[in-house]
Symmetry: C2
């Protein structure tokens, strides 16, 4: 939501001299991505996003992220690919930060997901998993199930007493229930490279079609169905998590299912995986909430929005994940 590292006109010109993409016509810092500094760059040959990776992205992971989006772009997915300089390099250093030029893609993120958009996203996620099949590099999920209990423990005072209850009286109990459920994590399900953060603001659409999947900086090697679960949690509820929209869920699962045939074991595991996904976002938001001053310019995201989803998933059946309503 901010530009942390400034790039001057002179620094930009020096940077672009290594590329065959012409000279800058326009260059504006954009408020996109919580983690990095991003600029929208127009040159005499086209438009690009220049990303400078800030501290929260481990520099050692960047080659894998860029290789993955390059892999997906080369397979024709709607993924803006990294742009190579004259020497074939995509990863650079600019003003002391790792940096990369990425193709610009048109499109606008939806705020209120329609079932039609959810279906398109399901199709796009299925195609992503298909295309990831022969991507062989691996990266463990640093925010996977093993990280959740330690992360919950860090939402605490120096004496170890939990601060989750400061956020909401219901939060400690929901987190405890989520951790208990995650202790029985599904094993033996298909693994691939997943996006792991396919929220509406990481999807651009135009005329109802997905034009870009972006922000692959949580990509990792993990359960394919966990990625479906993350996307389900991100797309199928009201922002505050109070309302589940079965028609969006039905559309998302139908779209994904048109490309990837989930196994019976994956379908059975989906509520548990989605509870885990909701727990993951509850905990990272709670941690950020506790560690962000209330008067900071960054907007704190409400952990309860995902704690409510967690509660819903803990009580969900596989059929409910598909949008089938109870007592209908």
């Amino acid at each position: 939501m901010a530009v942390y590292t400034q790039v001057s006109a002179d620094e930009l010109a020096a940077f672009l001299s290594g590329y065959d993409i012409g000279a800058a016509i326009s260059f504006k810092g954009i408020a996109e991505g919580v983690e990095n500094s991003n600029y929208l760059l127009e040159t005499t040959t086209g438009r690009f996003i220049l990303t400078l990776y800030e501290k929260r992205v481990a520099a050692g992971d960047l080659p894998l992220f860029l290789a993955f989006i390059g892999h997906l772009a080369a397979k024709g997915l709607p993924v803006p690919g990294p742009v190579a300089d004259r020497q074939g390099r995509t990863l650079q250093v600019l003003n002391g930060r790792p940096a990369c030029l990425i193709e610009f893609a048109p499109g606008v993120s939806v705020t209120e997901a329609t079932p039609a958009a959810a279906q398109e996203v399901g199709v796009a996620l299925g195609r992503l998993h298909q295309a990831a099949d022969d991507f062989t590099a691996e990266r463990p999920n640093a925010l996977g199930p093993a990280s959740w209990a330690p992360l919950a423990a860090r939402c605490a005072n120096p004496d170890g007493s939990s601060r989750l209850g400061e956020i909401d009286a219901a939060l400690p109990g929901l987190v405890a229930a989520g951790l208990a459920a995650a202790a029985d994590w599904p094993a033996g399900l298909p693994v691939t490279t997943i996006h792991a953060d396919l929220f509406p603001d990481n999807v651009l659409l135009l005329d109802g079609k997905v034009t870009a999947l972006i922000d692959f900086y949580f990509a990792c090697t993990d359960l394919r169905a966990y990625d479906v679960a993350v996307t389900h949690a991100a797309w199928c509820f009201s922002h505050d998590g109070r309302q589940f929209f079965p028609e969006r869920a039905a559309a998302l699962m139908q779209g994904y299912g048109a490309v990837v045939d989930l196994t019976a074991a994956e379908r059975a595991a989906l509520p548990r995986l989605a509870a885990g996904a909701a727990l993951r976002f509850t905990l990272t938001r709670a941690y950020d909430w506790i560690n962000t001053p209330a008067d900071a310019l960054v907007t704190r995201k409400d952990p309860m929005a995902f704690a409510r989803r967690l509660g819903w998933y803990l009580a969900a059946t596989p059929e409910m994940m598909d949008g089938e309503m109870m007592g209908g």
Copy 2:
């Protein structure tokens, strides 16, 4: 440097339905302008900046600002003009904020001003003052000389003791000298509508030519030569104010002088006016410095960068303003 008010895709579509400019193709919050929320919008017919005015801009002043930039754009100046909706209105309300669509202009702001750029800016400022001649609406300069002593007094503890010395030991003395000089403010000089904030980040250039003057949200009715003085202070020093660049000053004054013939009284008053301009930015920066937490995400601008300019101007002659060196 941030987007304070979010605009969703649905809210944008509803907003655009009042205009004849097509549908959104791309929409990105941009980190431009300290005061407002700005989005770069591309539609099926063109590109625009959508600005939502935040609290620091008085809503009552907006009709004048928009009328002034419309006036300048209509006269062919490189000023992106406001775009009217189907009913001819430029000023709107969006998400509870006053809002306006403004034409997009290409170009990049310089970070290190060259003499060539300073000359172009001088020409552009002269043309701006020419074009402002028949703009009759008036707005007092809320940050003019009468405001400086009260503003300095507000850089204080609750008991009235000054906090300027916390910033730099030299600051209280420089401010006192600046206030004393400003008490003898030039009278009877030509008045027009001025930009009053023509810093390098408010000027876009492309291939060495000015493509846009932007951010007219300090525009006011004041001395024409004071605008020259502000621009001089903004363009003719190193960022930290430690170094004066006579060749930039010569170029700026030559460019301006090619369009507007300053009177002898204006030329004589320039050092005093520029000391006032430097004092104005010293004080607003000092006030913001004292009132911004050190750990806030906004970068605090160093008041000393302009206090050093203030010291230079207090000792300057009219000839030095033109870049003539002493003892040459």
